[in-house]
């Protein structure tokens, strides 16, 4: 029964993906600028024939609906097209960039949760205390500090002055683990390469803090407010009345129920992070999706941006689906796909 519901919900994602595909296709073509012209850059001596040849080579001279139809057909066959700006297959580019982004996003969300969960609980339990006030101020700091600024300050403190952590990049040369999955941390564990593991973790710290600061702030606040709400609930009082120890009341009864809104927000935040954060990736020289996509937009690399947004849409839909399934686990009253 539940399996069927999940499947139904997964199928509902198809029209969304189709919508994303069409929207991004049209969106890119609405942008002023011509990919061939951009590719040729400052080339002089270019004849109109050469430009026309290039245009037809990339199917840019077909009418829009023909281009769209053929693009959709190719996507269905699993071909995301050819990237003009990087002279490479889009699928290959995305496969290379995705692990980097996912690794960073997961690290960021882990850091965010590691900060947000205890802080959210403590601030709710110690409502209106000094710790509540000060961590609320911190959370606003997290929300209102631009990531690039936070990033460069972190680099200056921890890399330049203290020399504890590397400034940027994913791994030091010589400590790149051999390729298995593309996730450096996972790869170095799989290959039993301890120095590489340490190195890739060290490289992850600063960017994931810079990236996780804002989600940490948002999640802290949502956990705090939903904890405040559940702590007022009768079943929490009742649990205390049963003689349950205070920490167990907070964790088992209040927090478990407070998790529901937190899961929604965390899901949305993860979705956002998986799209790659161009700003953080630029500051930390992190070869991920964000840079790929923004660079793709600037060079009007239609296939690249389309492919990347499709991947983004897919991860978004998947994360939402997982969040949905989590809901039903957290709140037995719900059936999959029933949230408002």
């Amino acid at each position: 029964m539940r399996g069927v519901k999940i499947l139904e919900r997964a199928l509902a994602a198809l029209p969304i993906m189709l919508g994303v595909c069409i929207v991004v296709f049209l969106f890119m073509r609405l942008l002023p600028g011509d990919p061939v012209d951009i590719m040729l850059g400052e080339a002089s001596n270019v004849t109109q024939e050469e430009i026309d040849a290039l245009r037809s080579q990339f199917n840019l001279d077909d009418p829009l609906h023909v281009q769209l139809a053929s693009y959709l057909m190719r996507v269905l066959k699993g071909d995301l097209g050819y990237s003009i700006s990087r002279s490479s297959n889009v699928g290959k580019l995305l496969l290379e960039a995705l692990p980097a982004t996912v690794e960073l996003a997961l690290a960021a969300i882990l850091i965010a949760l590691a900060v947000a969960v205890p802080l959210g609980i403590i601030t709710a339990v110690k409502h209106k205390s000094l710790i509540d006030r000060s961590s609320m101020a911190c959370s606003f700091l997290g929300i209102s500090m631009p990531a690039f600024w936070l990033g460069i300050v972190l680099i200056l403190i921890f890399s330049v002055h203290l020399k504890w952590l590397p400034t940027s990049g994913r791994a030091t040369y010589g400590l790149v683990p051999s390729h298995v999955t593309g996730f450096y941390v996972l790869d170095s564990i799989l290959t039993g390469n301890l120095p590489a593991l340490k190195d890739s973790l060290r490289h992850l710290v600063l960017p994931s803090i810079a990236l996780g600061a804002a989600p940490a702030a948002v999640i802290t606040r949502i956990i705090r407010s939903s904890m405040l709400e559940t702590l007022r609930k009768d079943y929490v009082t009742y649990a205390r009345a049963k003689g349950v120890a205070e920490w167990a009341v907070i964790i088992k009864h209040a927090f478990r129920n407070a998790l529901i809104p937190a899961v929604t927000v965390t899901g949305l935040e993860i979705g956002g992070l998986l799209g790659g954060n161009m700003v953080v990736e630029t500051i930390f020289g992190w070869p991920g999706m964000g840079r790929l996509v923004v660079d793709g937009i600037f060079s009007r690399d239609y296939s690249l941006v389309q492919g990347a947004v499709m991947v983004y849409g897919l991860t978004f839909v998947t994360v939402n689906l997982i969040a949905d399934i989590l809901y039903t686990w957290l709140n037995p009253k719900l059936v999959v796909g029933e949230k408002v």
Binding site: P15, I16, M17, G19, V20, V23, V24, F27, M28, L30, L31, P32, G33, R133, A137, F140, L141, I143, S144, M145, P146, A147, F148, W149, I152, V153, L156, V218, I219, R221, I222, S225, S226, E229, P261, V265, L268, G271, G272, G275, G276, M278, V279, G290, V293, V294, I297, F298, V305, V309, Y312, G313, F316, V317, V340
Partner: protein, 303 residues
């Protein structure tokens, strides 16, 4: 029938008058209760001070915001320039004061437009349901599955630079969140007794949506709105980072932070001061929001 209608109209008029009086009374009560919340008062004081400083910027700032003195670039704080001079020899304090206007305006307008658009569409979709709702919900899901920055960059490329274009670019997707909040709120409220009662009384859909449901769902919109104001200001900074934003002559905190971060090694004051004031504003706006929330609707979830 005409008589009947006119009676109904006069009843409505009287109801409206009563409602206005209640509004005024409860506004007073709300403000009074808000006044007892110390942190809300502190927040309100800071917000007011910043807004005042912004409005009075030309009177209190020692320089003109776009007056550059290239030979004074990177003058450290404390000297002739209270908070130092930037990389073009402009007074940082002056630019912060003038920047307040545009920054606050960007935050306020984008959030206002987003709340309005999202709110109206959300109420309509939630109230009428059906095809409209399905279409709008699918559309928002598609939009949510689209990275925000891509939207903003694309929109700026399409519209070209300029203050209003930036506002549109930021609103492009900003309304989605409010749409969802409003829709969810209406779905929860529309089955309640008071809505049924209003229907039985023969009030029009518009009146029910506007006077009955809206006041009950407007709160979460406003609370999230206060938070998003800060996000929008930071977003403006991110767009500046990518090289598309407000024309450079108009100072904004976001673009000041962005301009300054590259010089943080030799001139930390360029980006630090606007950063501090941005945090202070966002914090205070949210303190006020939090205070309002506690006064008006203690059960509301905020984040």
């Amino acid at each position: 029938m005409i008589r009947g209608e006119s009676t109904q109209a006069s009843v409505r008029r009287r109801l409206m008058r009563l409602r206005l009086r209640l509004w005024a009374e409860s506004a007073g009560a709300t403000l009074k209760r808000l006044g007892r919340n110390k942190s809300a008062v502190a927040g309100a004081v800071v917000v007011t001070a910043i807004v005042l400083a912004a409005v009075l910027a030309p009177l209190i700032s020692p320089y003109s915001p776009d007056k550059m003195n290239l030979n004074d670039r990177f003058s450290p704080p404390g000297g002739e320039y209270v908070l130092g001079a930037d990389h073009l020899g402009r007074d940082v304090l002056t630019r912060i004061l003038h920047g307040a206007r545009v920054s606050i305006l960007v935050g306020l307008i984008t959030v206002a437009i987003s709340i309005f658009t999202g709110g109206v569409l959300g109420v309509l979709a939630g109230y009428y349901g059906g095809t409209l709702d399905t279409f709008m919900s699918r559309l928002t899901e598609v939009l949510l599955a689209f990275p925000y920055l891509i939207f903003a960059i694309g929109a700026m490329a399409m519209l070209g630079p300029g203050f209003w274009n930036l506002v549109w670019a930021l609103c492009f997707k900003g309304w989605v969140e409010f749409f969802r909040l409003a829709r969810a709120g209406v779905l929860a409220e529309k089955t309640k007794e008071y809505v049924e009662a209003a229907k039985v009384l023969g009030r029009s859909d518009l009146e029910i949506m506007g006077f009955e449901i809206l006041p009950n769902i407007v709160n979460p919109l406003l609370v999230v709105g206060t938070l998003r104001m800060g996000t929008m200001m930071v977003m403006e900074a991110s767009l500046s980072f990518l090289g598309i934003g407000i024309p450079p002559r108009i100072p904004t905190w976001g673009s000041m932070i962005q301009d300054g971060y590259r010089f943080i090694l030799n001139a930390w004051w360029l980006s630090t001061f606007p950063g501090i004031i941005l945090v202070a504003l966002v914090l205070s706006v949210n303190l006020v929001g939090e205070g309002l929330r506690e006064v008006l609707d203690p059960d509301l979830q905020t984040f």
